[in-house]
């Protein structure tokens, strides 16, 4: 399998990257790790005329804590997420989900920004970003803007990213009590269903263990990563005992439309697995309290 021809430019700065994309009238794409894009190009499902490589732009990769927030640069590779001490300490769900992606070689190359921009309906990180209520910093010809992850993912391979725009960074609050649970599709290791749960759990004040906030998001179930609002509603204000978790997880399919249905899992099965893995993610997140 051979990709169609294209022309390749390597950007040294963000401005240069934007200029290189903007100067051509033809289809141009940013290239990071390439692990979403190159397979599609080899199958000729994607045939861009130009690729602008952003892996050599300084400052686009990295993980940092600043002003009580955690920032992750767009070209940070999965393996860095998996191994990051910062993430393991304050956002273990990100490290955990990154470690479930593909295989070691894929994790050595693929980047978080690439994954989010590509928005495969079965990718792991979109659900995690939605559950963590992350913001995406985006830069483009019209300047900079911020988008909430929840609004960023709009549909099947469809995101809020205009032509020529580039994700630069993801920002989110620390949250130890968050977890990701995934049913692997055995061949591809994509998520047949994956659920990320981020919980705020009361400590002290005699209200120990009461869930004060919950964001739960699913991938693999539908066209794009989405919140499971019914599940969230059933958790808030409750102590996370097994019956509560089970009852909340039962509401996983609520409001999810266009449920995926293919040879690896029917819509019915995926709905049921969303319940199972919502419960597993919630249990695991609660256990981190």
């Amino acid at each position: 399998m051979i990709p169609a021809a294209f022309d390749y430019r390597r950007a040294k700065t963000i401005d240069e990257a934007l200029a290189l994309i903007g100067e051509t009238a033809e289809e141009a794409r940013f290239l990071a790790g390439g692990h979403s894009l190159i397979p599609l190009m080899k199958l000729r499902f994607s045939q861009p005329d130009r690729l602008v490589d952003i892996m050599h732009v300084p400052g686009l990769a990295g993980i940092w804590e600043r002003n009580g927030q955690v920032g992750i640069g767009a070209t940070t590779r999965y393996v860095e997420l998996e191994r990051s001490r910062i993430l393991q300490d304050v956002l273990p769900v990100v490290a955990e989900a990154a470690g479930e992606i593909g295989d070691p070689q894929v994790r050595h190359r693929g980047t978080i920004g690439g994954s989010l921009a590509h928005a495969d309906p079965a990718a792991d990180l979109p659900a995690v970003m939605v559950a963590l209520d992350a913001f995406l910093d985006i830069v483009g010809p019209q300047g900079r803007r911020r988008v909430q992850a929840e609004d960023f993912f709009q549909g099947f391979f469809t995101v809020d990213l205009a032509e020529g725009e580039l994700i630069t960074e993801m920002r989110m609050l620390p949250r130890r009590t968050a977890a990701y649970a995934k049913l692997h599709q055995k061949a591809s290791h994509f998520a047949l269903v994956g659920v990320a749960a981020a919980l705020e759990i009361e400590a002290g004040n005699g209200a120990d263990g009461v869930c004060r906030g919950a964001r739960v998001a699913v991938t693999g179930l539908s066209t794009h990563a989405q919140r499971l609002r019914g599940v969230e509603a059933s958790l808030i204000g409750e102590r996370l005992e097994e019956e509560v978790i089970r009852a909340a997880a039962e509401r996983a399919p609520e409001g999810i439309e266009e449920v995926n249905d293919d040879l690896h899992g029917s819509a019915e099965y995926r709905r049921e697995m969303a319940k199972v893995f919502a419960a597993r993610a919630i249990r695991r997140a609660a256990a981190r309290a």
């Binding site: 399998m1 051979i2 169609a4 061949a187 591809s188 099965y269 697995m273």
Partner: protein
């Protein structure tokens, strides 16, 4: 002669875990595989393939492709009519014509409709993308049982109801090879067995369609030299000599004008034999006067390298309440795909012969119907008809045990062919050579700790876990021969040359591709000559080097090829004996071979070099002896060998997801004499993995339009390291009386035995939910549905 040819299993090298001599190059990345073959001026071939399963070609527009950079030729099937012969088939039965590039009708997705030759691979692919094909759709035939009613369409003229072959075999059929005439069958014995049965088990079972999936795809490099004329062709083929025969004929050459080289090959498993792409490459090399290379993409491989299995069986077992099986009846429907390839029709016929399993079943009858559908043709794949048979038999035995409330081990024990009954002619027509089945069963139960396993299972179940144990007892049919049994010759060829310096060059027609012949065959010869394996080189895989051969198929290499080599070796030894006797002034009977020397015990000794240098420049020839030390031999086995084994699998099913975790896999195999235990273990391990795959994840699926849904490793899961447990294995050794080595073969054993063991374990795990049977592959959703059905 026989004694001379027999290296004892306790010989110095036979039986040793010798490290492989193949490995130093391969672990350095210095192997030469097909895509590593590069010739000056070489051009690259790529195919435009049908994306429609069934239809008529209306138009193939190649104009844009012709104009693209680097393109040297664009041709359609119509352009090539008369230039290319049809894809070869070895069968005594009628078969449809199968053009290498179809000129008119397409019958499966992936069928070649046009081609491009360009200066590099990238340009060739670009031009293929620019070819536009218009096809008028016909209804796609995708379900074998519907196809048998001639619906929704017929694939080939002359094959009513899409039936390729219908054959009835076994009890009540006089012809050993079966009959096509239902009127000629005597049903009395079969009917009586079922009428008097105390228990009847009846179950429909499906063996899914699977992809052999060697990690190296197919490929070919063809170089035609017009002036000689001579064709040299490198190809991924397990059968170089058959390949040469068909390729030479394809170009109108004699076999003396063609040479096939099978370079190092990244796995074959039965699927790499002779394909239309090779014909195309050879013909285009002749037409364009340049070497032509074609390398298959994985996406192409899923569509166009032969598939396997895809057999539906309706199995009925008659038994007594004490567990004794009195009869087995099978109706088999094999979905063979759109055409026949080399052995497509032959493979399903092998199923009948193993329907006796390891059991003395007095009455066996099968009816086999092979049917055309709009899918890639099936052909041989590890096990070739045997995994189907053993799956049917071993699932049936498990069903019988459950029906009678017996321990599955005891039902099997009750029916085993006993040691004193060998050679044993089964009701399915095969003569089994030797076996001690009960001894092996007991060894397996002990290795597994069967009673403890059952106790732990009971405890796990009491705790609400779905833990299952499954057993299978397999028989493998190996060393297919003599020639009356194998449509293309049941022998193998070998040659042994003691060079002037005393070192040995040997050749075998069994062309290895991972089986370690260069090591194990050298061990056999080393013991025969009393020398070290390092002084022996084994060559294979080139028709100009190995003069004749059948190939590495059907677990026959060591048994048939190894014996042929021994036969050639003993001829050389006889000559060395004559020369040495003359040089030492001793009697021939006194000459011994030991420790790298030839001589008389307690007397004079000669090195191999001394004997050889004399043999190649004899000052006085012994009477009736030619100079030189080079001999060859063909060996045809008197009958087939039947290795066997027993596997036990333990699984746990996730109640919530339906996922199956394979927790333990225990087994004992008996493949007769073992030449190199390291290599045998490797064969067993790999075989088991290839049997576990189809049990749990491997299944090729076409949609109702004949589109392959599982066309890549993204959708078709072969086992990964993390999917498998550490196999716990043992051996017993029951030599075969049919060859001087006592070897039986082992290449397919694991694949045959593993699938039913794992499926039996999953059914056992689900039995408390009322599940009686489930067909593989046991995808999580399929298992989850059974659990949910059972819980309701």
């Amino acid at each position: 002669m026989a004694a001379d040819a027999t290296p004892s299993p306790g010989g110095k090298h036979v039986g040793q875990r010798l490290k492989r001599r193949e490995d130093p190059a391969l672990i350095r990345g210095q192997g030469t595989f097909i895509d590593d073959v590069r010739l000056p001026g070489m051009l690259h071939l790529a195919f435009k393939r049908s994306d429609v399963a069934h239809g008529r070609i209306v138009r193939v527009d190649t104009s844009a492709a012709r104009a693209m950079p680097g393109v040297r030729l664009v041709a359609t099937g119509a352009d090539l009519q008369g230039v290319l012969p049809s894809v070869p088939v070895i069968t005594p039965f009628p078969y449809p014509d199968h053009p290498a590039v179809t000129p008119d009708k397409v019958r499966y997705v992936g069928e070649p409709v046009a081609l491009v030759v360009a200066e590099d691979r990238y340009q060739a692919q670009d031009a293929v993308e620019a070819i536009e094909v218009t096809i008028e759709d016909l209804p796609a035939v995708v379900d074998a049982e519907t196809a048998l009613r001639g619906e929704p369409a017929l694939l080939h003229e002359g094959f009513a109801n899409n039936v390729a072959l219908r054959i009835i075999s076994g009890t009540g059929v006089t012809e050993a090879a079966g009959t096509q005439d239902p009127e000629a069958v005597d049903n009395r014995e079969l009917d009586a067995a079922f009428e008097t049965a105390e228990v009847v088990i009846s179950q429909r079972m499906v063996n899914p369609r699977i992809a052999p999936s060697a990690i190296e795809t197919r490929g070919v490099v063809a170089q035609y030299e017009a002036t000689r004329p001579y064709l040299t062709i490198w190809s991924t083929t397990q059968r170089p000599h058959a390949h040469r025969r068909f390729l030479a004929a394809a170009l109108g050459l004699g076999e003396h004008q063609a040479r096939t080289i099978a370079p190092e090959m990244g796995g074959g498993f039965g699927a790499k034999k002779i394909y239309g792409e090779d014909f195309v490459a050879a013909a285009l090399s002749k037409q364009l006067g340049a070497p032509i290379k074609w390398i298959e993409d994985r996406s192409e491989a899923f569509l166009t390298t032969t598939h396997a299995r895809d057999v539906i069986g309706q199995i009925e077992l008659a038994a007594k309440r004490d567990g004794t099986v009195t009869a087995l009846k099978a109706r088999l429907v094999a979905d063979i795909g759109a055409y026949e390839m080399l052995l497509t029709a032959f493979i399903p016929t092998l199923t009948h012969g193993l329907l006796s399993g390891g059991y003395a079943i007095p009455v066996i009858r099968s009816e086999l119907i092979e049917v055309f559908t709009n899918k890639m043709p099936t052909d041989a794949y590890r096990g070739a008809g045997m995994p189907e048979a053993i799956f049917f038999v071993e699932r049936s035995m498990e069903l019988l045990a459950r029906e009678l409330g017996m321990d599955p081990a005891e039902v099997r024990r009750k029916n085993f062919i006993r040691p004193e009954q060998f050679p044993y002619k089964t009701a399915a027509g095969n003569e089994y050579d030797s076996g001690e089945y009960e001894r092996l069963l007991d060894a397996t139960l002990e290795l597994a700790g069967w009673e403890e396993m059952r106790a732990e299972q009971a405890a796990a179940r009491a705790a609400g876990r779905l833990v299952g144990l499954g057993m299978s007892f397999y028989i493998e049919l190996c060393a297919i021969g003599p020639s009356t049994m194998f449509p293309d010759g049941g022998w193998e060829h070998g040659s042994v040359t003691v060079e002037r310096d005393g070192r040995i060059t040997a050749t075998t027609g069994a062309s290895a591709h991972g089986q370690g012949h260069e090591t194990s065959f050298a061990q056999v010869l080393a013991d025969q000559f009393g020398i070290e394996p390092e002084t022996i080189t084994l060559l294979h895989g080139d028709t100009a080097v190995a003069k004749q051969g059948v190939g590495t198929v059907a677990s026959r290499s060591l048994v048939v090829g190894g014996t042929a080599l021994l036969m050639a070796g003993s001829k050389v030894k006889a000559k060395m004996t004559r020369f040495a006797a003359q040089l030492l002034e001793a009697r021939e009977e006194e000459i011994e071979f030991a420790n790298g020397e030839v001589g008389v015990a307690g007397g004079g000794k000669l090195s191999f070099e001394e004997v050889a240098s004399y043999a190649y420049a004899p000052q006085q020839l012994p009477a009736g002896t030619e100079p030189g030390l080079s001999e060859e031999a063909f060996w045809e086995p008197p009958g087939m060998t039947f290795p066997y084994g027993c596997y036990i699998a333990q699984v746990e099913v996730d109640r919530e997801t339906g996922e199956v975790a394979l927790q333990r896999f225990v087994g004992v195999d008996d493949c007769g004499t073992i030449v190199n235990p390291l290599i045998v273990e490797g064969q067993i391990h790999g075989g088991i993995a290839q049997g576990i795959g189809p049990a749990l994840t491997e299944e090729l699926r076409y949609d109702e339009h004949g589109q392959l849904l599982t066309g890549s490793f993204m959708d078709y899961a072969i086992p990964r390291a993390s999917d498998l447990p550490r196999f716990e294995l043992g051996v017993t050794v029951t030599p075969s009386p049919l060859n001087p080595l006592g070897a039986k073969g082992t290449g397919e054993a694991g694949t045959i035995g593993a699938t039913p063991a794992v499926v039996n374990a999953v059914v056992d795990a689900l039995s408390e939910l009322g599940v009686r049977h489930v067909d593989p592959a046991l995808h999580p959703e399929k298992v989850w549905r059974l659990i949910r059905g059972g819980e309701r």
